[in-house]
Amino acid sequence: MQIWSPLYRPSIWSFRTSIGNREVGMDMWQVTTLAARIQESLLNQDFVRAGIFLGGGLAATVAAVSLLGLVLVYAERKVAAHFQCRLGPMRVGWHGVLQPIADGIKLFLKEDIIPTEADRLLFVLAPFFCILGMFLAILVLPVSPEIQIIDLDMGVIFLAAVSGFGVFGVLLGGWSSNNKWSMLGAMRAAAQIVSYEVSLTLALLVVVMFSGSLKMSEIIQSQAAGWWIWRAHGVGLVAFLVYVIASVAELNRAPFDLSEGESELTGGFHTEYSGLRFGLFFLAEFINMVLASAFAATFFLGGWMPFHLGDWQAFNAVMDRIPPLLWFVGKTSFMVFLFMWFRWTFPRLRVDQLMALEWKFLLPVSLVNLLVGAAVVLSGFYFFS
């Protein structure tokens, strides 16, 4: 069934794909990426168009990240406040919407302190490593069929490679500050992120196995008949839970915020950072949260793909009415809210409990899950396949 909407272009051709030896027919969304457009322009010798795409894409990304940071700071404070029977920012603008802008300007104008004993170069570089890791992960993020920067063939591997990049910033920041609390925080962060990377990747591997591809767009398209979180007899659900826990740990957010641990380490790795540099850490943390949510949505909740139920054509048609961007934003917001909910509810784990959770619980669970997932894939027994 073809539906035409000005917001997106359903494909004009249908294709047949095979999942688990079963023929599944469906309409395919036409995926366009920024990189593809630039490439196309370059092939057509249209350098102006390529430049516009390049510059526009860069500007749009930076603007989107900044805006997202502001919105998230506001959202976090409001969500926290309402969890805690308060109102949150109210005085700056309507219901305090300008609060993050005031915070941003203030942080920008704050005195920039570099401690005398600190390693100046690394101290200055550290926040940018965090930011860099964040931007690299944005590269492969499929926001909607038409909004993606580059659709790498090995997108998942790329993502796994760069998601550990932020830890360099944390480690360098903690080490170069020449403060024992920072050092402790950095060491905790390194141990934590290295450990949880394992389960995170294993959880992603399950999805890769199901969809038979490392490409983001194909992973999403493989969920056209149903999201992986519920389509694979609990395997997807377990993988999703492992992914959520591991990504909260990767994000250094409560209940895994040991590397910051305000009541233990007085701020941890960013104890000595002030002003703009601290703001960058802050921004990286928030954007990373969005990215983790977005990738959770992509891998387990179908990304920008609408909610489809097998061959229920009428139902699917109604769902298709909702534009993919909205689906993506909705799923991501739900995940972000989930992360905030965790943060304001759970106490913090202890450092040895953190390690025990990963190596004694999550890792075995994800390994077994991977095996069961392999069995499911081999038998080809899915819901709504």
């Binding site: 805690q84 040991l258 009541s263 233990e264 304001w344 759970f346 106490p347 913090r348 784990l349 409990q353």
Partner: protein, 386 residues
């Protein structure tokens, strides 16, 4: 017998030798005086090996306000306002302790109304203190929301007490010989409404924190203080009771009208942080029970037995009286010489004595364990330093 006076810097900077272990492994970290987990300006010097604590050296005195020296210049009645500022979370119990000491020294008898009111408001403040402790425990362990819930309910009691005593925190309400003012007419209905409001909230507390697996993991078998050590380190109050000693001055040496009410004393078995946690939660329930029993039976009578302006001549002799505050037994020592100012006034602070078990229980644990231990000891640093 040897006698050697040391300094802190000598401990922190030992002479370096070739095979000194400090040069390779261990290092010192200052926790405090400004640290969110030390509830004020307690400074803990930690000798660390990686994340593991090898030694804890509490360093006090960052809020030593010389209250004992000041008390040597003040009348018995004037000392009361200083005690508000020692353990400000159980200010009324502190007032009562000094008042009891002065009354005992001077042989003043108080009527049942005064004693009932004193018991009532002290129990209210015990609930209030434990509410704050519960909130701050959550904050220390990283669950911020409990902090707000605790403070939200604390405000209710603050309002009730403010109506009667005229102050939110430093009440200065219980005086030698009686009370500053009579009860506000709103007191009884508002306390009843509060009990009705707070009982469900207490169950909510349990849902939010007590039933949380992470919290239980953080608290169970952490900072185990054996009964022998607890007695040896002079611990009192919930800390001692968590170690399995059912010592509560309200039962043991009843004062006020505690002998006329029924309540039970929760006692722990292991002596870990978890025992200290649920003992305080249970004490809140017991205190609510005491208040319920007393609130309808406040006898009539005067609220002050002595003339307000009377100079209090303390007879020669030493007097030591104890009160069970929210944190343990607060002792007041008064040495009279027949003058109106005491020759020596000393406070046996429960926090000071509870603090030192840290040096034993935190060793071998992680920093996070130390935070949990300090939090469940429920220290008020101005009371430690005085």
């Amino acid at each position: 017998m040897s006698l050697e006076i040391r300094t802190l810097s000598e401990i922190m900077n030992p002479p370096q030798t070739a095979d000194s272990p400090l040069s390779t492994q261990e290092y010192f970290v200052n926790m405090g005086p400004q640290h969110p987990a030390t509830h004020g300006v307690l400074r803990l010097v930690l000798k660390m090996d990686g994340e593991t604590i090898r030694e804890v050296i509490p360093v006090l005195g960052y809020i030593h306000r010389s209250i004992e020296k000041m008390a040597e210049y003040l009348h018995g009645r004037q000392i009361v306002h200083l005690t508000d500022r020692m353990d400000y979370l159980s200010a009324l119990a502190n007032n009562w302790a000094v008042s009891r000491a002065v009354e005992t020294a001077m042989g003043v008898q108080t009527n049942p109304r005064i004693e009932t009111i004193r018991t009532l408001i002290c129990e209210l403040q015990r609930v209030q203190s434990h509410q704050l402790w519960w909130g701050v425990l959550g904050l220390d362990l990283g669950a911020l929301t409990s902090f707000f819930y605790g403070f939200r309910d604390r405000e209710e009691i603050t309002d009730i007490l403010e109506e009667t005593t005229g102050a939110r925190l430093t009440m200065n309400y219980i005086q030698p010989g009686g009370l500053m003012f009579d009860l506000h007419p709103n007191f009884v209905p508002r306390v009843k409404a509060f009990i009705k409001y707070f009982r469900p909230k207490l169950d909510e507390y349990e849902t939010l924190l007590s039933e949380n697996v992470i919290l239980q993991e953080r608290l169970r078998n952490v900072g185990v203080l054996s009964a022998e050590d607890a007695i040896g380190y002079g611990a009192t109050g919930p800390v001692l009771r968590a170690s399995g000693i059912p010592l509560d001055l309200r039962k043991q040496q009843p004062y006020g009208v505690y002998d006329q009410v029924e309540f039970s004393v929760p006692v722990g078995t292991v002596g870990d942080c978890w025992d200290r946690y649920w003992i305080r939660i249970e004490e809140m329930r017991q205190s609510l029970g005491i208040i319920e029993q007393l609130i309808d039976n406040i006898p009539d009578g005067k609220f002050m037995e002595m003339k307000p302006a009377a100079k209090l001549k303390l007879p020669a002799g030493s007097f030591y009286l104890q009160i069970e505050t929210a944190r343990g037994s607060l002792g007041v020592f008064l040495q009279g010489t027949g003058e109106d100012i005491p020759h020596r006034c000393h406070f046996r602070s429960p926090n000071f004595n509870n603090l030192w078990s840290v040096t034993k229980t935190a060793v071998g644990g992680k920093i996070a364990d130390l935070v949990a231990i300090v939090s469940t000891l429920d220290l008020v640093i101005p009371d430690v330093d005085r």
